[in-house]
Amino acid sequence: MLLSTALFIIGVLGVMLRRNIIVIFMSIELILNAVNINLIAFSYQLQNGIGQVFAIFVIAVAAAEAAVGLGIILAFYRNKETINIDEMSVMRW
């Protein structure tokens, strides 16, 4: 529990403090990993396999999110030549 919380906090700090959008995506992966650790820890404590099933779903969603997010980064970089989120304030160009 404490490990999961600490990893979650590191991920949140990464999202808030970094300006590089790729590092922000990696921080989101860390957050999802923290959630997975929590699910599996409870699955171990309660001797119940359902937590592991949910962790599989979380992994699937994380993979989908990474694919789509990195596609968005590539499309954006091709248009704007930047990966700094402070410059990503436009919705149209």
Binding site: I10, G11, V12, I40, S43, A60, V68
Partner: protein, 170 residues
């Protein structure tokens, strides 16, 4: 006792690599630390009797997602470090205050939750460990069949979406 030692060592590795991922300047190094972090998490899964998930973690995260990240880092090809200029409006004390409140709440929840944490039942301890894949597969294909299919549809849609986004023009 051995299990506790292994748990704490792995926890130290996971947290250390996570800090390195967030704090490293070089993005490629951050991705490589992310691989090490995922491998340590997979080892922790084995410790927590989730062998199937450990394998999935190594395959999907350390194999797939990290390669994807590395490709994007190479493609984006940083010409200048993106953290050079600072944005003063981001240093908002309201944000720090709210963050502190949330962390305090989490700490209180953990403090109350960890007092009466039950240990795993030893009698059934080997059951989930020995027949891990069978149990997971049974749950996945009976009780959680519809979420499983929805997840597969989500992956299909994500794949199509990523291809469309990455195409130069339609």
């Amino acid at each position: 006792m051995n299990q506790a030692i292994a748990f704490y060592v792995l926890s130290a590795f996971i947290l250390g690599f996570a800090v390195l991922v967030v704090s490293t300047r070089n993005t490629v190094h951050a991705v490589l630390y992310l691989v090490l972090n995922f491998l340590a998490v997979a080892a922790l899964y084995v410790l927590l009797t989730a062998q199937f998930l450990a394998v999935i973690q190594v395959l999907v995260y350390a194999g797939g997602i990290v390669v994807l990240y590395l490709f994007v880092v190479m493609l984006v090809n940083l010409k200048r470090p993106p953290e050079d200029h600072s944005a003063p409006q981001r240093h908002s004390w309201i944000g720090f205050g709210l963050t502190g409140l949330v962390l305090l709440e989490l700490a209180v929840i953990i403090a109350y939750g960890s007092i009466a944490a039950p240990g795993p039942a030893n009698a059934q301890n080997t059951d989930l460990a020995m027949y891990n894949v069978e149990k997971i597969g049974m749950l996945l294909y009976t009780d959680y069949l519809i979420p499983f299919e929805v997840a597969s549809m989500l992956l299909l849609v994500a794949m199509v979406g990523a291809i469309i986004l990455a195409k130069r023009e339609l």
